[in-house]
């Protein structure tokens, strides 16, 4: 008999998870494609019955996005412009059908190198909230995803929320995805850029790139070099070699590594240029 557990509260979920490992199900948009079987094989812990895990709240420190918040929820949420890139990414996740089911936590825990949600969340300085029956910890998103299909989630732990610090909601932001077709496409490369400015100069720069390495990555050195520069110069000032140095793309059927390095820079310049336009 396959076990399918769909508790209504978090305690019950965490107790169940502490007792026995289970596949954690939410939107199921990655779980079902991974099997040809007509049903999910157990044991399954379905967390969509826990109402408290869905939705976006403001907190004293910023924002809390519940684990089972769907991409459609995010796309339709009223959030500050720093989140624009996340909302743009939300509209590029698969299709409308996928956005109505797929969740933010699922996107992170599935840990695809081409997960659309990761670059904008990295550029929002996101941390993840990991709950277990023994307690809760927070981890920067950059430390949570450790490799393709690999995360720092420990046995008994559940990703319950994503936190965005208040400061990260500032500025203007853009997400750009490059694929070989318009909808329902896995990225060749994608970028997220968030710029905060004062008096026409960049005071904060957050840049992230996905699908150009085993995990999506922030570009700390590139960001630092842009701080203090006039907004008009920002896009052109991006150091292509520094971007390339931060990436480790592969050759695959969607594109070759050299192309990805090149495209990442081109996309980054565009995203920064567009964010700058939004600021002006």
């Amino acid at each position: 008999m396959s076990l399918y557990h769909r508790p209504a509260n978090l305690h019950e979920a965490l107790d169940g998870l502490a007792a026995a490992p289970a596949v954690i199900a939410a939107g199921c948009t990655d779980l079902f494609p991974a099997t040809e079987r007509p049903a999910l094989d157990g044991p399954v812990l379905d967390i969509t019955g826990i109402a408290a895990l869905r939705g976006i709240d403001t907190t004293d420190d910023g924002w809390r996005i519940g684990a089972t918040t769907t991409w459609a929820d995010i796309a339709g949420a009223d959030l500050s412009p720093g989140f624009d890139m996340l909302k743009q990414a939300a509209r590029e996740v698969g299709s409308t059908q996928i956005q109505n089911a797929g969740t933010i936590a699922g996107n992170l825990c599935n840990a695809s190198p081409a997960a659309d949600g990761v670059p904008p969340l990295l550029a929002l300085d996101a941390t993840v909230e990991l709950a277990a029956s023994t307690g809760t910890r927070q981890l920067p998103l950059s430390d949570f995803i450790t490799g393709p299909r690999a995360t720092a989630l420990q046995p008994g732990e559940l990703l319950t929320a994503v936190h965005i610090p208040r400061a990260a909601g500032q500025g203007a932001s853009r997400f750009l995805k490059l694929g070989a077709r318009k909808y329902l496409v896995i990225s060749i490369a994608m970028v997220a850029a968030r710029i905060v400015a004062r008096d026409g100069r960049a005071t904060q720069v957050a840049l992230a790139i996905g699908a150009c390495g085993p995990v999506a990555t922030r570009l700390a050195a590139v960001e630092r070099a842009l701080i203090g520069l006039p907004l008009a110069d920002l896009a052109d000032a991006i150091d292509a070699r520094a971007v390339a140095a931060a990436l480790s793309p592969i050759d695959d059927m969607r594109g070759d590594a050299a192309y990805r390095r090149h495209a990442a820079v081109a996309l980054l310049r565009r995203a920064v240029g567009l964010a700058v336009e939004d600021l002006q």
Binding site: N100, L178, A180, R181, K182, Y259, A263
Partner: protein, 914 residues
């Protein structure tokens, strides 16, 4: 507590209790549990959207939704789309938005959600985004988007011919006659018919490209699992099939060794629960992988092992056409251009995976499955199962796209074997991976060619040579190898010509028929090469083609004198847009640096029907004693429209309105053989049979009533009324003796296109009828990313006589979509892209504006002058796009698809070439 809980689901307003696992796909629960088969399953992975249903008004993929997520929600399926969306369904019919109909329920659900959205009415881009998650392989999306905007009240309502009068059916913009069940969700596709007590069948397939294998203890496995097992040893007939009998070489179940990945070696069958519990890894088989050959060059080396012992050099067959003196033609030329091109495996990617059911009626094996070729299915299945053909009856289910691949057998011999051996009904539905890995593909081609012109730009010579990777088994490889040299000239006059093509065996997937039989690949090289020649000769690229276009009465490279040649009028029809588009591109490019626009043109021609081989169609028409008019229409309609076009032709030949016909079949027990739906032959070949049947019945009626040719015929209960001027006669049908088919009056006519065999130089009359076309592509290239956006495409096609403009436009728009996919994104890599997220086909957001120009150069042989269209529509698109890319940015892409990284590399290469 019981194992399977009871869920309460509210489906289309009614609460239903059902025992189901909470984690079961909602698509399974709806289809299998509740019998709501309007929700289609195309991929089980959220990639195609065919299973889209609404949960509390929001579209989701039912295949990705655990049943328990739907508990407490309002579930709406296509069956429950009530009055508010009748406008949508009507608009789908009026626009011809449903072709095969397999994606239609998903499209309707996604569109219904869009129309229910609060706020301002949707615009085109809203509609594209709303439908972006539902794939369609037939329509090119244009008519679907138009239908949605029409239903939303954004655009004026499209009008179709309501009920054309007698004699006015041909040429009428008639809604498809078989459309209603497609938009109602009641159409029965291969996976939708569930005979009671059926065993489910699953194939064990090779994970290796080449391997030998041995089974373990099958009896013990069967006893342990409760499954029945079938292997090649159970096959009562000849374990070999193939579309061309002389080359048949494919086993239904492999014997000891496989030649390709995905090849079936055994079947397991059982009730649904037992089969679901089966873990494929537990099947007792031991594989011994062998080294595989995946490319033609390796396969052709002398040391390469032969896939089929009798086929030297792994060459299945070579085709050759030679005319004039090519050496002299090149020697006298003013300009010579030379080129090469490489195309990949291309997957048909119909949204319906192969499926069907088989059962016994007395001693007749009945198979209802998706297909393009019922009589071929019958004969081949009968051979495998050791039955006389009359003991196999094929009832084609609705077919959710075919494009050539469903000409070959798939489930038929497998479910037939299980039904025959067990006496029980048997069902089988391929998974998406199984469909993609085991069925045929477009041949990958490696081609070289050169061509020459004189100082005036007239073609003097052309040489073409191509290896076409035909994969592990013959399928339609011989047709490709023969068709390519015949067509590689394009629709141009070339006095000196030499073309060779070879179908070469490898351990890749079987390459078979795919819309164009190799001609689209050849056209990619020929048409891009002709741009080189035009540039070298300093002639406008459209003018170059017009100068060299085959004239009326001209001779093809096969020496055939051609009549009804329409390429010239197609090219002429493109000229106004060509000139305007060139100006617009120039203006755009003058102000843009990062993006450049370009235009490209390419032509096509395509012979309708088999190449120099018989391919007759027979149509029966009968009047019952009650006065009902029945058309036995055996041309399988896989969405292309023969259920509508054939009655239109027959109606005007007979002189009765098209609404008077009842359609029978296709069904091998009820309809005479109309051959296969392939090679753009049904309108011409079955159309001609229908024309003759209509004329014959009319002649009989006129003779019986002693009336002249100008008389009007009408049907009345039990009678035919014939009127001419003041005179009216009544034929009392009940008073006539009925024939063996129960008809008081009947006609049955056969038509086989007149062709002549090709000689050793490929000279002869390979086809009786050719169709022509030319496409003008307008593209924008992003110079930094190498991405290409086709923003407009103008398609001019000569149809000889347009039988139904609505359906013709649909064929063209769908062909353009497949051509665009071929050019820009489609690349089937065996073992790596066996799904619809790694194998990309165009979505609603990838299509350009398409302007269709329908032209009529009357064909002396075609019915009412008509020619075929199905394959023509795809051929020019890819080369027109490639030529436009080059025009925009200089990039010559010679390896398809033109993915961004390849385009960017070609841009760089062009920049470095002085």
């Amino acid at each position: 507590m019981k194992d399977i809980p009871t869920l309460t689901l509210t489906v289309n307003g009614a609460a239903t209790q059902i025992d189901t696992a909470p984690g079961r796909r909602l698509s399974e629960v709806l289809r299998d549990g509740l019998g709501l088969t309007g929700t289609k399953v195309g991929c089980d992975a959220g990639d195609c959207g065919a299973c889209t249903v609404l949960l509390d008004g929001a579209p989701v993929c039912a295949c990705l939704t655990p049943a328990i997520h739907a508990e407490g929600a309002e579930i709406t399926t296509v069956e429950g789309l009530g009055a508010p969306v009748e406008r949508l369904k009507s608009a789908f019919l009026r626009h011809g938005a449903a072709q095969c109909g397999i994606c239609t329920p998903g499209m309707l659900m996604a569109a219904a959600a869009l129309l229910a959205r609060p706020g301002p009415p949707p615009d085109r881009s809203d509609a594209e985004a709303a439908l972006g998650g539902v794939l369609c392989r037939c329509t090119g999306y244009a008519k679907i988007i138009d239908a949605v905007l029409d239903a939303a009240g954004v655009t004026p309502q499209a009008v179709t011919a309501a009920a054309p009068a007698s004699g006015a059916a041909v040429g009428a913009r008639l809604e498809r006659l078989d459309g209603a069940p497609k938009v109602a969700g009641t159409e029965i596709f291969g996976a939708d018919y569930a005979p009671a007590g059926a065993l489910w069948v699953r194939a064990i397939r090779s994970p290796h490209f080449a391997a030998s294998f041995t089974f373990g203890d099958l009896d013990a496995f069967a006893a342990q699992t409760g499954l029945r097992v079938f292997t090649a040893a159970d096959i009562p007939g000849q374990n070999v099939f193939g579309t061309i009998p002389a080359f048949a070489d494919q086993p239904a179940l492999a014997e000891g060794a496989v030649r390709m990945r995905g090849e079936a070696v055994a079947l397991v069958a059982g009730d649904k629960t037992t089969l679901e519990a089966f873990a494929p890894d537990s099947f007792p088989i031991t594989w011994s992988p062998q080294s595989e050959i995946l490319d033609c060059a390796t396969a052709r080396t002398p040391e390469a092992p032969r896939l089929h012992e009798a086929r030297e050099g792994n060459i299945l067959i070579s085709g050759l056409v030679h005319c004039g003196d090519p050496v002299a033609g090149f020697a006298s030329a003013a300009h010579v251009a030379e080129g090469a091109a490489e195309t990949p495996y291309v997957e048909h990617a119909y949204i319906e995976p192969e499926a069907g059911a088989a059962w016994l009626e007395g001693d007749t094996l009945v198979i209802q499955a998706c297909t393009q070729a019922p009589v071929m299915d019958r004969d081949d299945t009968a051979r495998v199962l050791g039955l006389p053909p009359e003991r196999v009856r094929i009832i084609p289910s609705a077919t959710g796209g075919g494009f050539g691949s469903k000409l070959d057998l798939s489930v038929q011999p497998l479910i037939g074997l299980v039904a025959l051996k067990t006496g029980l009904p048997a069902r089988m539905t391929y998974s998406r991976r199984e469909s993609m890995s085991s069925t045929t593909k477009r041949h990958p081609a490696r081609m070289r060619a050169r061509a020459a012109v004189d100082a005036d730009g007239r073609l003097t010579a052309m040489e073409f040579d191509g290896d076409f990777n035909t994969g592990a088994y013959a399928s339609w490889g011989p047709t490709v190898a023969v068709r390519v040299p015949v067509h590689a000239s394009g629709p141009y006059s070339i006095p000196n010509y030499h073309a060779e093509a070879r179908a070469v065996h490898t351990n890749g997937p079987v390459s078979g028929a795919f819309r164009g039989f190799g001609v689209p690949q050849a056209a990619i090289l020929q048409e891009t090469l002709f741009d080189d020649l035009a540039l070298k000769a300093g002639i406008d690229r459209l003018a170059f083609r017009r100068l060299n276009a085959l004239p009326e009465g001209g001779r093809s490279v096969c020496g055939q004198e051609l009549h009804g040649v329409g390429i010239g009028i197609c090219l002429d029809a493109l000229k106004p847009r060509w000139e305007a588009a060139a100006q617009e591109a120039t203006a755009f490019n003058a102000t843009q640096t990062g993006r450049k626009r370009g235009i490209g043109v390419a032509s096509c021609w395509y012979g309708c029907g088999n190449t120099a081989l018989p391919n007759p169609s027979t149509v029966r028409l009968g009047l019952t004693p009650e006065g009902r008019l029945r058309l036995h229409q055996g041309a399988t309609d896989i969405g292309q429209g023969s259920n509508t076009v054939i009655p239109q032709i027959c109606a005007d030949a007979l002189g009765l309105p098209v609404q008077a016909f009842e359609l029978i079949g296709p069904d091998t027990a009820l309809t005479p053989d109309c051959g296969k739906t392939s090679a753009s032959r049904q309108t011409v070949v079955t159309g001609n049979a229908a024309l003759r049947a209509g004329e014959t019945l009319r002649a009989r009626i006129l003779a019986l009533s002693n009336m002249g040719q100008g008389a009007q015929i009408a049907l009345a209960p039990g009678a035919v009324l014939v009127t001419e001027g003041e005179q009216q006669r009544r034929i009392d049908l009940a008073a006539l003796d009925v024939d063996a088919n129960g008809y008081a009056l009947a006609a049955e006519e056969t038509y086989d296109p007149p062709t002549k065999p090709l000689d050793e130089n490929g000279q002869g009359t390979p086809f009786a009828v050719y169709g022509y076309g030319a496409h003008l592509a307008e593209v924008e290239v992003d110079l930094a990313l190498g991405t290409v956006r086709v923003h407009r495409l103008t398609a001019a096609h000569d149809l000889g006589r347009v039988i139904n403009p609505l359906l013709a436009e649909g064929q063209i728009e769908g062909g353009v979509a497949q051509g665009l996919g071929l050019a820009l994104m489609e690349d089937y890599i065996p073992g790596r892209t066996e799904n619809l997220h790694d194998y990309l086909i165009p979505t609603a957001g990838d299509m350009p504006r398409i302007d269709t120009i329908l032209l009529e150069a009357t064909d002396p042989e075609g019915p009412f002058g008509a020619k075929g269209l199905g394959e023509h529509a795809l051929i020019p698109t890819a080369p027109a796009i490639l030529n436009a890319i080059r025009d925009a940015c200089g990039a010559k892409v010679t390896r398809l698809p033109a993915l961004p990284h390849r385009v960017l590399a070609a841009i760089r290469a062009a920049e470095q070439t002085p």
